[in-house]
């Protein structure tokens, strides 16, 4: 989910059905959301070739599912689709016809699972073909002489900091790439695939991997510390609050670690896998779990802040989005919830029926 607006808030949601919903949040006369949707043209020549649905193939074409979060930048919404296309959509009109583009124009670059990130007019996005692409956000043209190649799929979202792009790959490496040239500065090897986005805080990169370890890495690529008490994969982006790095894990636990030393400050068990990126709202860390509940914890102590976790309809896999005193949650049942961060009460819900 992404937000942009002048006099009102706008939420953009990508769905597994391949649609982007634009939700205009209004409080007049009462809180409600007006939806507009966009979906890519279907059935273009060569659609999904090589992934299914090519010439003579009886296989169903690969869906244009959107797993990543739309990125809003300079009047456009950017998304990557599972059938291997990157789209720039006009944020106002919700179309690629005006002010938009699609990359590549023909064919595809393999399933895209991660989200795009735009920094200084350049869009960075990884794909299952193992490449990280840098595209001009205005035109959609390639910026680097060639995409940066890793040895396995890229399902993670890149992070850009100080002229360096950081991206994890299923080849078990975290790469630091020069944002201007697309050349490798260094790589840090873990013992598992990397599917999460790096968090950069105080000149340190924080990232978890499928080897069930959480790493703190210096900006020169050396290891600062690692946390290895988890029992399953880390597949979400960590958040930071007052020098405490908070990461959810597929072992159902939330771990809060000292940013400098990696010592555990507190932990909290939910009843499901944590696959959605948490958010910090004020002094709270809000977490969505596969047990279909939203938890609000005191970020400093890990104590539950709401009387009870809020139960929603469907699993929570999409990153949570924080507004002012509001947290937005999108579920696999295709329902968008707005929850009051003070007590977890539902302010409103909007059913899109798109998982």
């Amino acid at each position: 989910m992404s937000e942009e607006g002048d006099t009102y808030d706008v939420l953009y949601v990508g769905t597994r059905g391949g649609k982007v919903f634009k939700g205009i949040l209004s409080n007049d006369p009462k809180p409600h959301v007006a939806l507009r949707e966009w979906f890519p043209e279907r059935g273009e020549p060569g659609f999904g070739a090589g992934v299914g649905g090519g010439f003579l193939s009886c296989a169903p074409p690969v869906p244009k599912s959107i797993y990543g979060t739309p990125f809003v930048y300079d009047g456009r919404v950017y998304i990557g689709t599972y059938d291997g296309k990157v789209y720039a959509i006009d944020a106002q009109e919700m179309t690629t016809e005006i002010n938009g583009w699609a990359y590549p124009e023909k064919g595809d670059i393999g399933p895209i699972v991660g989200s795009p990130v735009v920094e200084d007019g350049v869009l960075y996005i990884g794909s299952s073909d193992g490449k990280l692409y840098a595209l001009d956000a205005e035109s959609g043209h390639e910026v680097w002489p060639q995409p940066f190649q890793t040895d396995d799929k890229i399902w993670a979202t890149p992070a850009v900091h100080d002229g360096v792009v950081y991206i994890g790959s299923f080849d078990q490496n975290l790469y630091a790439i020069d944002a201007e040239t697309g050349t490798e500065n260094w790589r840090f090897e873990t013992q598992g695939g990397i599917g999460s986005t790096p968090l950069i805080y105080n000149n340190t990169i924080y990232i978890g991997a499928f080897d069930s370890k959480f790493y703190a890495i210096n900006l020169n690529g050396t290891e600062k510390w690692r946390f290895d008490e988890a029992d399953s994969w880390f597949w979400v982006k960590a958040v930071v609050y007052d020098d405490i790095v908070i990461a959810g894990c597929l072992d159902h636990w939330v771990y809060a670690l000292d940013a400098e030393t990696g010592d555990k400050q507190w932990d909290f068990e939910t009843l499901g896998q944590i696959r959605a990126d948490p958010v910090i709202v004020g002094d709270l860390v809000i977490i969505g779990s596969k047990d279909d509940k939203v938890y609000a914890l005191d970020a400093g102590t890990g104590e539950a802040a709401w009387p009870a976790p809020k139960t929603v309809d469907g699993h929570i896999r999409a990153p949570l989005f924080a507004g002012e005193d509001t947290v937005y949650v999108y579920t696999t049942a295709g329902t968008l919830y707005a929850l009051d961060t003070d007590n977890g009460k539902k302010l409103w819900e909007q059913v899109t029926r798109e998982p």
Binding site: G52, L56, Y82, P111, Q191, G192, F210, S232, W235
Partner: protein, 317 residues
């Protein structure tokens, strides 16, 4: 029930597949081949039993048909005669069924393991994470690379080579298992099965990830080898002979006539033939004989001379 299935069958097989992949140079393709061979080897006693039971049932078919024909109006007597025939032949009609039933869950689990391990989408990978043992070797191996030879095991083969291979090997296996029969109904059914199964699996191969097609292909090849060592070329004998004839430029053997119905007045209690020689269709055996005899050779020579003469005549004129 699902939990029990996962714990007892799916998870052990899935995790073993992942460990195999790690050991075999991080190649998921090699892991699929190895696991299929291992599972096939473990299931060998059941497979042998199934093949032998099927073979014995096939041998009794002519007599069975004769009984059905003879006692068509007396169902009770027919039942009695059929039971008697089975008893005398030492055959249990369900004998070929239960080894198959035992194998079925194993095949389903293997199929699911291959599909799950590939984890093409985020949902699949999330699901895979729930079925992994807490072993570092397992967690280090996933997500697994899907490249193997020219193939991407996570998607259907875009060159359509695998559908042809899977369909072709399945046709060979089906053909080997098909016994000649005079019953038009059975003939029609055999013909349908001979083409339907391979075409169906070739179609599936175009739909499913190639990792699964690799499992079907290896399984078919192993099946063909096993079938060959137990029953020989079976229904494929004539085709093989024809190909041999084409390759050696020798005359092709004539198509064998279907097995005639055996009279049911044969000595009751006669042992069910079990050796390959005994089980070979009578006509096929009859055909083989002249090839070894002198007269047969003479006839062949005469045929060859007849064929070559006109050619020479044309050249000379």
């Amino acid at each position: 029930m699902t939990e029990l299935w996962n714990v007892l069958l799916l998870q052990p097989m899935l995790n073993f597949l992942i460990v195999l992949s790690h050991v075999l140079f991080s190649s998921f393709g090699l892991a699929v081949i190895a696991l299929t061979i291992i599972v096939r080897f473990i299931m060998l006693p059941f497979t042998l039993r199934q093949i032998r039971s099927t073979k014995a049932m096939t041998t009794l078919q002519p007599k069975l048909q004769e009984i059905q024909k003879k006692y068509a109006k007396d169902k009770q007597r027919m039942q009695q005669e059929v039971s008697k025939l089975y008893k005398e032949g030492g055959v249990n009609p369900l004998g070929c069924l239960w080894p198959m039933l035992i194998q079925l869950p194993i095949w389903i689990a293997l199929y699911q393991s291959v599909l799950r391990a590939l984890a093409a989408s985020p949902e699949d990978l999330l699901h895979l994470s729930q079925n992994l043992y807490p072993l570092s070797i397992v967690h280090q191996a996933v997500p697994m690379g899907s490249g193997f030879l020219w193939l991407n095991l996570a998607i259907p083969d875009s060159f359509y080579i695998m559908p042809i291979l899977v369909g072709g090997t399945m046709w060979i296996q089906q053909k080997m298992m098909t016994a000649p029969t005079t019953d038009p109904k059975q003939q029609s059914m055999s013909r349908t099965m001979l083409w339907m199964m391979p075409l169906m699996f070739a179609f599936f191969t175009m739909q499913f990830p190639t990792g699964l097609a690799l499992f079907w292909l290896v399984s078919n090849i192993i099946g063909i080898v096993m079938q060959y060592f137990i029953t020989g070329w079976g229904g494929l004998e004539v085709t093989v002979q024809r190909w041999k004839a084409i390759l050696t430029r020798a005359p092709a053997p004539p198509t064998p006539a279907p097995v005639p119905l055996s009279p049911i007045t044969e000595t009751p209690g006669a042992p069910v033939p079990t050796t390959e020689e005994e089980l070979a269709p009578q006509e096929a055996r009859q055909e083989k004989r002249p090839e070894h005899g002198k007269s047969g050779s003479k006839r062949k020579d005469r045929r060859r001379r007849h064929r070559t003469r006109p050619k020479r005549a044309r050249h000379s004129s």
